[in-house]
Symmetry: C2
Subunit: 222 residues, 2 copies
């Protein structure tokens, strides 16, 4: 298991780790790009609240969105938030209860988000969010109109302060347990897309598009 | 999409909703039991921190565990925390960008945890956590010894204050978009277990146990 600090502040990233920081940044992007949803923690009335939501990434920025009426998103603008993306790759069966584990890739981002203003930037962010979960979809559908945009809050979070934690491979048992009869190993976990289910009100003659069909052939770590 | 309040306080659960609250409680248990990991939000140095971890449930209590040296778990004991479990069931493709969505089941629990003390209660909680992600495993492996137990912090969180949010079914498009050429529907998402990978140091002659093999035949919503 490795924990890789990414924060390039003088405190957290000594000059001698510059090469490693570059690698870590790629690891962060890989986790964020492979995830589907994130869990956002905000401070609401003095207590943390954790909610799932979708997100998108463009370069060094993570984008979140929601209704302008969302108390949680509004609260996120008044202080730091924490965004967690976790991919579970397998269940690790050990020979002793205490060494049971999961194989996973986890990214945690901290920071104070800013509201994205300006129509072009907002559309770019919303496109990134939709394309993150539905690649190829944005150009095939009606873009947001003025009214929809006015009802949407878009937040940008800088990816500077983040950490990546990854566990992979075998169970790590104590030496004295190796001679026992218990099995040890990893049960891999993957996500698969099933056959697309057309909307009940889909107009006759509209075929399932390639950008949807193509995803059902893939089986990727979740 | 429905949001079902579960908190049985006078404020949040009027008497007229008693029947519904019972149903909701079953919905909460179903989401918690189907999930693999949770995301826990704690307050650390004044800011929320969200981290993934495993959990277990017995009746009305959610159990978390970790190292006694974990600053995050220690912090969780000094104030309220928020625990979120999310199952993503599908990507909802709409005819307009703003109606893209996910089908999901989400449980969010709030409260102030207490440390579980007493060896029998701690073992019971740890068993629940391991059995949650590896059913049938506890009885097949070495249980925690005194030293391991001493290094483990076990937290109990009452499930009283919780909410469940579920989205299922078709995309909900605006009437004026139905006549267009865009496809709409759901791309279902499921999790599957792959073939078990035995540890490199597994002793010869130990077969993969039934409680592991049986899981690879299942394909369940993630």
């Amino acid at each position: 298991m490795t924990r890789t600090p990414l924060s390039p502040t003088p405190r957290s990233t000594p000059t001698r780790l510059r090469d490693r920081a570059a690698t870590d940044r790629a690891a962060l992007d890989a986790v964020l790009d492979a995830g589907l949803i994130c869990h956002v923690g905000v401070l609401l009335h003095g207590a943390p609240v954790v909610l799932p939501t979708t997100y998108g990434r463009i370069d060094d920025t993570l984008y979140l969105h929601g209704s302008t009426g969302s108390g949680n998103l509004r609260a996120a603008l008044t202080g730091d938030l924490s965004v967690s993306v976790t991919l579970v790759d397998g269940i690790v069966y050990a020979r002793s209860a205490m060494h049971f584990s999961m194989n996973y890739r986890s990214a945690v981002v901290h920071g104070r988000p800013v509201e994205v203003t300006g129509e072009a930037d907002r559309l770019r962010a919303l496109r990134a969010i939709i394309e993150h979960n539905a690649p190829g979809a944005w150009d095939a559908v009606r873009p947001p109109n003025k009214k929809e945009l006015a009802a949407t809050l878009v937040l940008a979070l800088d990816l500077t302060e983040a950490s990546v934690k990854i566990r992979s491979g075998d169970a790590s048992d104590d030496a004295e347990d190796l001679a026992g009869d218990a099995w040890a190993g990893v049960l891999p976990l993957q996500r698969v897309f099933g056959a697309p289910v057309p909307n009940a009100d889909l107009r006759a003659g509209i075929e399932t598009p390639t950008h949807v069909l193509d995803r059902t052939a893939t089986r990727i770590p979740m």
